[in-house]
């Protein structure tokens, strides 16, 4: 077994005259390292995208009870990317993580059916769950990444309930790892990952060294169906249960939700006959 040296930081000379030997061992070690990605994937249980959201009568939040839930679509894409890395023999293990109540296990099981090797359920319930924010989740993810010795964390770019787009970035910062967010393409290149990011101006390509955090955007891939053979195999895979306290994370809320309201009802528009009329109306209403 070759000891894996971090050749990015220092060179270990086996024989001072054997330069080729050093170079050969360097790329072998890096290949070895690349083929051994341990990937941590966060999967969040959210209200299904097709459900019509209703605000609670007391305006404290949205109705979640008895409402259909499923895996956040961006988490599905993140999970799919991890499975593809494993199929390309670049990843050796995928761990699916979810923070939430008991039902979050369903989401983890779906991730196992897609191809994750094992799951971790961080149980957070009741008020603590309602008040959990991306900062809490990032702290948990960061600690997990260290404990599990992961070298790649893939998350969805945002969840469709919070729409925060913070967890990936915060996790990277807490770990002091590089981050590549809004990924629409991820390729392995020697000792780093080349990631194409979707930004407002178009596409940006970055190189990130490992370990790193990636967040998945819509066009990264098309998630697979969970096939029945994989669902059957998933039954035998393990889900470890933990509490946030196990990671030294305090779930005291840092934010208070003051109120939740329906968006304003869409008003009817006005039809105009000509551009002049349009401009006149815009000027009258003070918009222009």
């Amino acid at each position: 077994m070759w000891p894996i040296f971090d050749y990015g930081r220092f060179v270990s000379i086996i024989s001072s005259s054997d330069v080729y030997g050093v170079v050969w061992m360097r790329s072998l070690a890096q290949l070895h390292k690349m083929a051994n990605l341990r990937v941590l994937v966060g999967v969040k249980r959210v209200i299904d995208y097709a459900v019509k959201i209703r605000v609670k009568p007391d305006n404290s939040g949205v109705v979640t009870d008895g409402v259909k839930h499923s895996m956040n679509p961006f988490c599905e894409i993140a999970m799919e990317e991890a499975v593809r890395l494993k199929e390309k023999k670049l990843a050796k293990e995928i761990i699916a993580v979810s923070c939430g109540p008991a039902q979050a296990q369903e989401t983890i099981r779906t991730a196992l059916a897609m191809g994750a090797d094992r799951g971790i359920h961080v149980e957070v319930t009741g008020k603590e769950y309602e008040n959990m924010t991306p900062l809490h989740v990032s702290k948990i993810m960061a600690k997990l990444a260290q404990d599990q010795e992961a070298n790649l964390v893939i998350l969805g770019k945002q969840s469709i309930d919070g729409d925060n787009n913070q967890t990936g970035q915060m996790t990277a910062a807490l770990l002091d790892w590089p981050q590549a967010t809004f990924a629409s393409e991820v390729t392995k290149e020697n000792d780093h990952l080349k990631v194409v990011r979707e930004i407002d101006g178009g596409l940006e390509t970055v190189k990130v060294t490992l370990p790193a955090v990636i967040t998945a955007d819509l066009r990264l891939n098309e998630p697979r169906y969970a096939t029945l053979p994989n669902i059957m195999k998933a039954k035998k895979k393990k889900i470890a249960k933990h509490k946030a306290a196990d990671f030294g994370v305090d779930l005291t809320p840092t934010l208070e939700v003051v109120g939740v309201e329906d968006p304003p009802v869409r008003q009817a528009g006005q039809k105009v006959e000509s551009t002049e009329e349009l401009v006149a109306k815009l000027k009258d209403s003070g918009v222009v």
């Binding site: 009870d65 296990q105 369903e106 099981r109 969970a226 096939t227 029945l228 059957m232 998933a234």
Partner: protein, 451 residues
């Protein structure tokens, strides 16, 4: 956690793991292991608006927003839900967009069979050792039901996986298993079952197709009609007379595996049906077809026994698909009447429509309860043919009643081919006929009553 909750059955259940476990103990071992999970609130009158935890409680279709919702019915588990979500997606993304074309062609494509094989939708109940998926029959039920929920009656996956493959699996030789089952699971070989003839349907003992011994081989002569998957089938199980002198026709029937390409085996044409337009139902002709000894399925002259053993599952499939189709038609109609306007308000505000919907939903939910009972029994291997016959005739009659009423509620648009209800209506008409006509079902049920 001492709160009590009133369920739809109006029984007060104290919060106790042991009691909850004992409630489930009487039912089958299919019910999932205890996990704490939030109760789906059942809105019975007077129920307090509170949320309680109880050992895994899955609501039935009577008390959830849609009769087709995932996460319902106690016979299923969360794993079935995960599978159902994928299967639903498959039907919606791979089959439904092409279905209009399939109806024009009178058949589905080879690709959609291969895709189904890839996704693990074929041979679901076939044991793993024989190349199947090795899941229980409830997973197969998910595939049948989702087919009806997607209103795509074209692909004959249920006939292939859950009628034809079980015959081969149970009565075939290891050689036949190896040659046929893995390919059938992959979708590269399509299966069909040929019992009915132009001159004999219900009167199975009146068939004329026969196989005469010639050395070690058999020479098959005759014809079959109304064969599901007939046009595309690569392997067809043919029911033929092998002993014309038997004391009764039933004792002289055998099953043969006739494969595409055998000389003398011709497929006549795709039949022009009033419904199931995308299904490649065909007529088959056997003109001195030479069958090797390896084509005999099971033992000589034991064919009728095999048929009697396998027909209950066929009837269960028809019954389950009938209820599933009724659920689909109901949801489709409910959505339509909520949108359609007449007399200054939506049609759903008319009391006559509301009462009709209430009656239909109740009938469907009651039917679903019986079918779930049958599915559960069948999963334990305890479904007798009598019960299966009851399910088949009752559910298919219900489906036709629901189809007529739902089409009526669609008004003129219900008569238009492009509306899903029209297709569901014509498709439903064959259900009381095939798989054993409802009259025959009543014959069989009555025998147990009066003898």
């Amino acid at each position: 956690m001492a709160a009590t909750v009133r369920t739809v059955l109006s029984r007060v259940l104290p919060q106790s793991g042991a009691l909850a476990a004992s409630l489930t103990a009487g039912a089958s071992s299919r019910l999932p292991a205890a996990t704490s999970t939030l109760l789906h609130r059942c809105r019975s009158t007077g129920a307090p608006d509170e949320v309680v935890t109880l050992e895994q409680f899955r609501p039935e279709t009577s008390s959830v927003p849609s009769t087709m919702d995932i996460g319902t019915r106690r016979i299923f588990t969360e794993d079935h839900d995960i599978f159902r979500a994928s299967v639903r997606r498959f039907w919606a993304e791979e089959v439904a967009p092409n279905h209009t074309q399939y109806e024009k062609d009178g058949q589905v494509s080879r690709e959609v069979w291969l895709k189904a094989g890839e996704q693990g939708l074929l041979g679901v109940n076939t044991p793993e050792e024989l190349g199947g998926i090795g899941a229980d029959v409830l997973y197969s039920a998910v595939v049948w039901e989702e087919q009806m929920y997607s209103n795509c009656s074209g692909p004959g996956y249920a006939m292939h996986s859950d009628i034809v493959m079980p015959y081969i699996q149970k009565y075939g030789t290891p050689e036949q298993h190896e040659r046929l089952l893995p390919a059938m699971v992959a979708g590269s070989k399509i299966g069909a079952l040929a019992m009915t003839e132009p001159g004999a349907g219900s009167d199975l003992q009146g068939i004329r197709t026969n196989a005469k011994k010639d050395g070690d081989d058999w020479i098959l002569n005759g014809s079959k009609v109304f064969i599901t998957n007939g046009w595309m089938a690569d392997v067809t199980i043919v029911v033929a007379i092998t002993n014309p002198q038997a004391k009764s026709a039933a004792h002289g029937i055998s099953l043969f595996l006739v494969e595409e390409g055998m000389p003398g085996f011709k497929k006549g044409r795709k039949l022009d049906k009033i419904g199931l337009k995308a299904q490649d139902t065909a007529e088959l002709f056997f003109d001195d077809v030479r069958l090797p000894p390896s084509a005999l399925l099971g033992q000589e002259n034991k064919g009728f026994v095999y048929l009697m053993q396998e027909l209950p599952q066929e009837r269960l499939i028809i019954a389950d698909m009938a209820i599933a189709s009724s659920e689909f038609m109901f949801e489709e109609t409910r959505n339509y009447v909520k949108e359609r306007k007449a007399f200054g308000k939506t049609v759903s505000r008319l009391q006559t429509i509301q009462h009709k919907l209430a009656e239909i939903k109740t009938d469907i939910v009651v039917g679903r309860a019986f079918l779930d009972q049958c599915l559960e029994l069948h999963n334990q291997g305890r479904l007798d043919s009598n019960t299966a016959s009851m399910a088949k005739f009752w559910a298919s009659d219900l489906q036709n009643r629901v189809a007529t009423q739902c089409l009526q509620m669609h008004g003129g648009w219900g008569y238009m081919w492009e509306y899903p209800i029209a297709k569901a209506f014509v498709d439903s008409r064959v259900q009381p006929i095939y798989g054993g006509s409802n009259e025959i079902m009543k014959e069989l049920i009555a025998r147990n009553i009066v003898t």
